[in-house]
Subunit: 295 residues, 2 copies
Amino acid sequence: MLNEFEIIQRYFTRAYTRPDIALGVGDDAALVVPPIDKALAITVDSLVEGVHFSSDISATDLGHRTVAVNLSDLAAMGAKPLWATLALTLPKIDEAWLHDFSAGLFQTLDQYQVALVGGNITRGPLSITLQVVGTVDSKRALRRDAAQVGDLIYVSGTLGERLYRPTPRVELGLSALGFAHAAIDISDGLAQDLQHILTASKVGAEIKAELIPLSSSLKKNLSSEQAYRLALTGGDDYELCLTVPPVHQATFEARAQTLACPVTYIGKIIAEEKLLILDRGIPMLNSQTGYQHFS
Amino acid sequence: MLNEFEIIQRYFTRAYTRPDIALGVGDDAALVVPPIDKALAITVDSLVEGVHFSSDISATDLGHRTVAVNLSDLAAMGAKPLWATLALTLPKIDEAWLHDFSAGLFQTLDQYQVALVGGNITRGPLSITLQVVGTVDSKRALRRDAAQVGDLIYVSGTLGERLYRPTPRVELGLSALGFAHAAIDISDGLAQDLQHILTASKVGAEIKAELIPLSSSLKKNLSSEQAYRLALTGGDDYELCLTVPPVHQATFEARAQTLACPVTYIGKIIAEEKLLILDRGIPMLNSQTGYQHFS
């Protein structure tokens, strides 16, 4: 049976040769070297078995998902992710599971050039907490409280489908720096997450439901109204919702197109502090509804 | 019933007015401003109910302990802790528990001027993961791989007692920068943790067991040999073990005295790559033994 040090050594230790990593896994703490003149963006997210995933998810998909949900948060700040730490709680040592989980984890970390620099493994109910640190120009970061009246509201990709392998929109967030005012990642449903921007920015929004880009499975399997409701209130899309001043609309759309990242205009920011959702002109939903862990 | 946003707002949100915090709790990520010319030290630790603590620990003590075990890791690097994120998994909403836990957490964070800048609350078996980021001069950081033959081995405080309120030796770690070569915090037992330094540094050590500073409860309740064995192999001391070159011995001891932090010489680093523990000259224990979560 492997002990915790052997597990870390075998499955979670990479020899990085990057100038920004002075000391990786294996000491009391990792040492990394931040660039000068940038702020650090720090985020953490946990995935708990039975809450965020069921036991039928593959370990590889779970490894991917662990990274994706965290990078999505940094994407929503316009931050460049650099370093991650992993806190893993395991009920037992299953080497096949560890192999597959770490493969999915590193595949996605590598894809975004994020280094796993530290962590902790302990015994307990299956739960995975990843913390990611990135860098961003503090003055241009895409904050929730920066939406302005008149901004155009965009969402990336399509909504309404819980995906095993969500795509964190890191490049979109980076390319929107200086062009978008505010952003959030859609993890609890568009209506609820957009409401966080509205509350923080002390503004409202008018959304045209028929403009919301629906996933193909939603369109295939549900009535139009059911599909829009699910797209508004479902979670786990990990797309971005951004507000863009009209003056930057063309640039923002062009940059998204360069990235082959679909973005769709769905409404605009208004002064009245409410969220108005219209279905072909008729009010559809006027309060936030979404996924809350304790509601 | 409070939802997750209300819990975060009520119990885990502080309005910090610090120039190094551009954006705290409440966005997709926190934004902090690191000092120029320092490396970042990043560490994470989890406390799981039934593994790291039993249900009889008070929520206040648990809040304290959560911070202390993480700061202890940064202390062992000689890093100055600055920012923390909390991932909390709770089986239910218990406001009295949340009140007491956050009180203990913030009391200890405040004591060391560490800001809670972000986090995540979810439903699940009780488990607490804190991640702390600090700063350190990368060239002087107290790494495990920096011990040298002839170094004097010191431990702080006393060993052999599992404490509800361990004291992280942050100031000692900071004051040892430039004077100690290597350091580790003692969380799995002195023998095992010292072995990590020896392995990383490719050296050995000769320890005089009778010099190990024993906690008063060990001295009171156990025979001399039992007490030394427990001090060597018990965990959760959260004291530091440091290696100091003889040329800096006087300065190191004087600085520790200034901090009113007891430090005790217990042996020295040798070239032969083994850990030799002598009890009044007689070999006592020559392999590492300590707490491992999966052994």
